[in-house]
C-alpha cells in the first residue's frame, strides 16, 4: 500500500487524487489497496485453472504439491499461463489491425461514410511491397487489393506473413531455422490455445517458441498492418505541436474525451467536432466551443494526425471524469476500466460505448458502423452538446496543468530529418552512433500500473538514459507520461540530455524523446531498426544494434506479446514488473538467459528504473564493443 501522496508524480493527477480522497470517490489506486495482499500463487504464475480436475497450485516452498493433478510442474503451469497472455495480447492488437483492414476495404468500395484513402503515396509503397500492381490503377482499386491482402494475412494457413520480409535477411533466416515464422496471424493464436489446453504441449521451451511465433504475428503482422493501413486511411503522421494533461479540458466548452485504442471512430469525431452546425448548437447551449481530448492510444492516434490534445494516460481515465467537466466519454476497445460505469453515476458525464466487442455496465451503447461512421460521430457529439447544460459548476475542478509537446514522428519522417529535407537518409543517425556521439536508442513503451507510482518509472528511466546520450523513442502511455513532463519538447535536450545527444537535437531541432505513436506503432520501431541495419555500418542483424526496449509500468497482456516480439527480434527487453512466471525456475531462466542464445534478445525484470537504466547502458556498451565502434565522444 502506498501513501496517497505517492500515487503519482504528475501534479495534475496529484490534484485530482486529492479531490478523490476528500469526496470518497474510488479509483484504481483505492481498489488496488483493497486488493492487497495479492495472491502469491498468481504472482508467481503457478496456479492453473485450465481444466476442472483443478484448480491446482504448486507450493513454491517445496513442501506441498509439486505437480498439478495432471502431473504438470511449476514450469509447465507458468509457461501455459504466460502463453495464454501472449495469445490474448496478440489477439487484441491483431483484431485492431483487422478492423482497420475492414474499414479500408469498405472505404475503397465507397461504402464507408467519411472515410477515404488520405495517403496515396504510402498506399502505393505498401501495395508495391505486397506485390500488388499499382501502375495505371486508381487509389481505390489499389486500396481494395491492399485491404484484401491484409485480410488474407489473418486467415492464412501456410507460408509466411508478408511483412516478415521487412526484417534483415539474417533475422528472417534465423526465424525460419527456429521454426517461428508465423504462417497466419490467427493461426498462431489458435495454436496457443490448443497447445495450452489440457494434455497437449508440456515442454516449456517448446511452448515459449510458439509464444514467440504468435507474438511475431502481432509485431510483424497485426500491429504492423494496423499502423500501415491507418497511415493509408488517415494520413501519415507529421510532426505536430499539441498540448497534454487534464488542463486541456475547458470550463466553458463542451468537453468530449475519446478513450480506447482505434482511430476509426475517433478520427470521424475529429471531423464532427468542427462541424459548423454542431458548433452552432454548442453555442446555443451556452458553450464557447467543442473541445476534444484523448486518453490512451486513441489519443495518440488523433494527436499524431490532427494535433488533438491528450487529457492523460491510462491511470488518468477516472481522474478525467472526476474533473466534473467531461460531458461525454466515448470508448472503443482495450484498457477501458469497467469501474468508469460506477464513477459516472456521480457526475453528469455520459459514458458511451461504441464497439460491439466492448460493452460496459453503466454505459450507453451507440453502435459504431463504418457505413455511416461520420453520422454516428455527429450523433455522439450532439449527445455531448446536449449534456453540456447538465454540468454542475460546483462539481467542476480542472487542474491547470498542461504541457506543450511535439508528436507524430514515423519511420518515414523522423530519421530522414537528420539528413535534411532534400537528402532523406538514415546515414546521419548511423554515423552519430558509430562516431560515439549517440550511445544508441531505447524504446520505452507500455502502460501505467497502480503498483508503481504513476509516470515515475517512465520518467526516471527516460531521464537516466538521456543523460547517457541515449536517444529515447516512446509510444502509448509512456509517450503521454513523457509528454506531460515536457520531455517531448526540443528544449528538453538542453535540460536532460548528455552533450552528444544535445548536439544532435540542437542541429536537427528535434526533442530528445520522440513520440512514435500508439502501442500498435511499436511496429514503426521495428521498421526503423530494419532501416538502420539496411543503411549499414551497425551490423547485419537487429540483434547487432546498440538498442533496447523497456516497459517500466506495464500491466496489460498486450505488453507480454509486445515484449516477446521485441525480444525475439533480437532486442534486449527490460520489464518493470516481472512476468508472472517466477514460480517456474527453469522457464524463468530460459526467458532471462536461454532466450538470448536463440534470438540474441532476452528479458530482464527490474522494478527500479535507475537500475534498469544501468542494465540498458551496459547492454548498449556491450553491443558497441562487439561492433568495434568508437568510444563515446563525451564521458
Amino acid at each position: 500500500m502506498h501513501d496517497k501522496k505517492n500515487r503519482s508524480v504528475d501534479p495534475a493527477a496529484q490534484k485530482m487524487i486529492g479531490k478523490v480522497c476528500e469526496t470518497g470517490l474510488e479509483t484504481a489506486w483505492d481498489r488496488y489497496d483493497k486488493m492487497l495482499p495479492q495472491c502469491g500463487f498468481g504472482e508467481l504464475g503457478i496456479c492453473c485453472r485450465i481444466c476442472v480436475m483443478g484448480p491446482c497450485r504448486i507450493d513454491p516452498f517445496g513442501e506441498g504439491p509439486q505437480r498439478g493433478i495432471c502431473g504438470a510442474t511449476a514450469d509447465i503451469i507458468a509457461a501455459r499461463n504466460l502463453l495464454r497472455m501472449i495469445a490474448a495480447g496478440s489477439a487484441a492488437h491483431s483484431d485492431h489491425g483487422r478492423d482497420v483492414a475492414h474499414t479500408l476495404l469498405m472505404a475503397s468500395e465507397g461504402k464507408a461514410e467519411g472515410y477515404e484513402v488520405k495517403d496515396e503515396k504510402k498506399l502505393r509503397t505498401v501495395a508495391g511491397e505486397l506485390g500488388i500492381k499499382t501502375e495505371g490503377r486508381n487509389k481505390n482499386e489499389i486500396a481494395k487489393d491492399v485491404a484484401e491482402k491484409a485480410f488474407g494475412e489473418f486467415g492464412k494457413q501456410h507460408g509466411e506473413l508478408m511483412f516478415i520480409q521487412r526484417a534483415p535477411k539474417l533475422r528472417q533466416d534465423l526465424w525460419r531455422k527456429l521454426g517461428v515464422v508465423p504462417r497466419g496471424i490467427d493461426r498462431e493464436i489458435v495454436e496457443i490455445m490448443h497447445r495450452t489446453n489440457m494434455g497437449v504441449d508440456n515442454d516449456p521451451e517448446n511452448m515459449a517458441m510458439q509464444g514467440v511465433r504468435a507474438s511475431l504475428g502481432d509485431g510483424w503482422g497485426g500491429s504492423m498492418i494496423a499502423t500501415e493501413l491507418q497511415d493509408i486511411l488517415f494520413g501519415l503522421p507529421k510532426p505536430v505541436r499539441a498540448q497534454v494533461n487534464l488542463g486541456v479540458l475547458k470550463e466553458d466548452e463542451v468537453n468530449i474525451v475519446v478513450h480506447g485504442h482505434e482511430p476509426l471512430l475517433s478520427d470521424m469525431v475529429v471531423t464532427a467536432a468542427s462541424d459548423p452546425e454542431l458548433l452552432k448548437l454548442a453555442g446555443e447551449k451556452g458553450a464557447k466551443g467543442i473541445t476534444l481530448a484523448g486518453i490512451c492510444c486513441t489519443a495518440n492516434e488523433i494527436l499524431m494526425r490532427h494535433g488533438i490534445p491528450i487529457a492523460g494516460n491510462f491511470l488518468q481515465q477516472e481522474l478525467a471524469v472526476m474533473t466534473g467537466a467531461v460531458d461525454l466519454m466515448l470508448v472503443d476497445v482495450q484498457c477501458i476500466m469497467p469501474g468508469l460505469g460506477n464513477l459516472v453515476k456521480c457526475f453528469h458525464t455520459k459514458f458511451v460505448s461504441t464497439s460491439p466487442k466492448a460493452k460496459f455496465p453503466g454505459a450507453e451503447h451507440v453502435q459504431f458502423k463504418e457505413e455511416n461512421g461520420l453520422s454516428i460521430a455527429k450523433k455522439i457529439v450532439r449527445m455531448a452538446i446536449e449534456n453540456y447544460p447538465n454540468r454542475k459548476k460546483e462539481n467542476v475542478l480542472i487542474p491547470r496543468e498542461k504541457t506543450d509537446l511535439i508528436a507524430g514522428f514515423t519511420a518515414e519522417s523522423v530519421f530522414e530529418f537528420l539528413g535534411g529535407k532534400h537528402r532523406a537518409t538514415y546515414r546521419p543517425l548511423n554515423d552519430a552512433v558509430m562516431s560515439g556521439r549517440l550511445r544508441g536508442a531505447v524504446g520505452i513503451v507500455g502502460c501505467n500500473n497502480p503498483k508503481i507510482t504513476h509516470d515515475w518509472a517512465h520518467l526516471t528511466l527516460a531521464k537516466e538514459l538521456l543523460k547517457k546520450d541515449v536517444l529515447v523513442v516512446v509510444t502509448g502511455c509512456s509517450a503521454i507520461a513523457d509528454a506531460k513532463a515536457g520531455l517531448l519538447q526540443p528544449e528538453a535536450a538542453m535540460k536532460y540530455a548528455g552533450k552528444g545527444l544535445q548536439e544532435i537535437c540542437e542541429t536537427v531541432g528535434i526533442p530528445p524523446v520522440l513520440h512514435l505513436g500508439s502501442c500498435v506503432d511499436i511496429s514503426r520501431i521495428l521498421v526503423i531498426l530494419c532501416n538502420v541495419v539496411k543503411e549499414g555500418g551497425l551490423g547485419n542483424d537487429l540483434s547487432d544494434l546498440p538498442v533496447a526496449g523497456a516497459a517500466p509500468e506495464w500491466m496489460s497482456e498486450k505488453a507480454v506479446s509486445i515484449a516477446f516480439y521485441v525480444a525475439a527480434s533480437g532486442v534486449y527487453t527490460v520489464l518493470g514488473q516481472p512476468f508472472p512466471v517466477q514460480g517456474g525456475k527453469q522457464f524463468t531462466d530460459f526467458l532471462l538467459k536461454g532466450m538470448e542464445d536463440k534470438f540474441g534478445g532476452k528479458f530482464a525484470f527490474e522494478p527500479d528504473p535507475v537500475k534498469a537504466a544501468d542494465l540498458i547502458v551496459k547492454h548498449l556498451d556491450k553491443k558497441r564493443e562487439a561492433l568495434k565502434l568508437k568510444p563515446m565522444m563525451y564521458k
Partner: protein
C-alpha cells in the same frame, strides 16, 4: 494471551498465509527472492482439509504444552511473559519427539536440516502477524480470545442484517 484464530467460514483455502509465513521466515523477505533461497524457507502454518472444510492450522501455544515436556534438548519453552511456545532451532537435534506428541500436528519436521519448525508468532514482533496480514478474506485474526468472540459476533450481526 493473544492468539491466532481462524473464522473457518471465511477461509477460501488460497494458502496465502502459507506463502506469507515462509516469506517471513526467509532471509530476503520477498516472495520472488524467497522461492529461490536455499535452504527453502519453511512455512509454519498449513491449510488442512478438516471434514471437507479448509482450516489454516499453526501452533496453538498450549497452556500445558506436550512438546515442551517431550523435548529433551530444551528447544521448546513456554514464555511466561507472552505465553508463546518458543523454539530455539540452534539446540534442536532433530529427534522429532515434539512432532509425535503435538495433539494438533502443528510442528513441521524439516528433514533436510534435521530440525523442527513451528509458529513463534513472528518472533513476537509488534504489529500484525504475517499470515494474518496476508489473509485476503480476513479469516485469520490475531488477538485475545474475547476480542475474537466479539469479532465473530459482529460478523454474525452484519450478515444477519444483510439477510444472508
Amino acid at each position: 494471551m493473544k492468539e491466532i484464530y481462524c473464522d473457518i467460514n471465511l477461509c477460501m483455502a488460497c494458502r496465502s498465509c502459507e506463502l506469507a509465513c515462509a516469506v517471513e521466515h526467509s532471509k530476503v523477505k520477498s516472495l520472488a527472492g524467497a522461492v529461490n533461497e536455499t535452504p527453502r524457507p519453511k512455512q509454519r502454518v498449513h491449510v488442512l482439509g478438516m471434514k471437507g472444510r479448509p482450516l489454516p492450522l499453526s501452533c496453538r501455544h498450549c497452556d500445558d504444552p506436550a512438546c515442551v515436556k517431550a523435548c529433551m534438548a530444551g528447544v521448546m519453552k513456554k514464555s511466561p511473559k507472552t505465553g508463546t511456545v518458543e523454539s530455539n532451532p540452534d539446540k534442536c537435534v532433530g529427534c522429532f519427539m515434539c512432532v509425535m506428541v503435538c495433539p494438533y500436528g502443528a510442528i513441521t519436521p524439516v528433514l533436510e536440516m534435521k530440525k523442527v519448525a513451528k509458529c513463534n508468532h513472528c518472533e513476537d514482533k509488534e504489529g500484525e502477524k504475517a499470515c494474518v496480514s496476508a489473509c485476503p478474506t480476513g479469516a485469520l485474526f490475531y488477538g485475545e480470545p474475547a476480542e475474537f468472540e466479539e469479532c465473530l459476533k459482529k460478523r454474525k450481526q452484519v450478515s444477519a442484517g444483510k439477510g444472508a
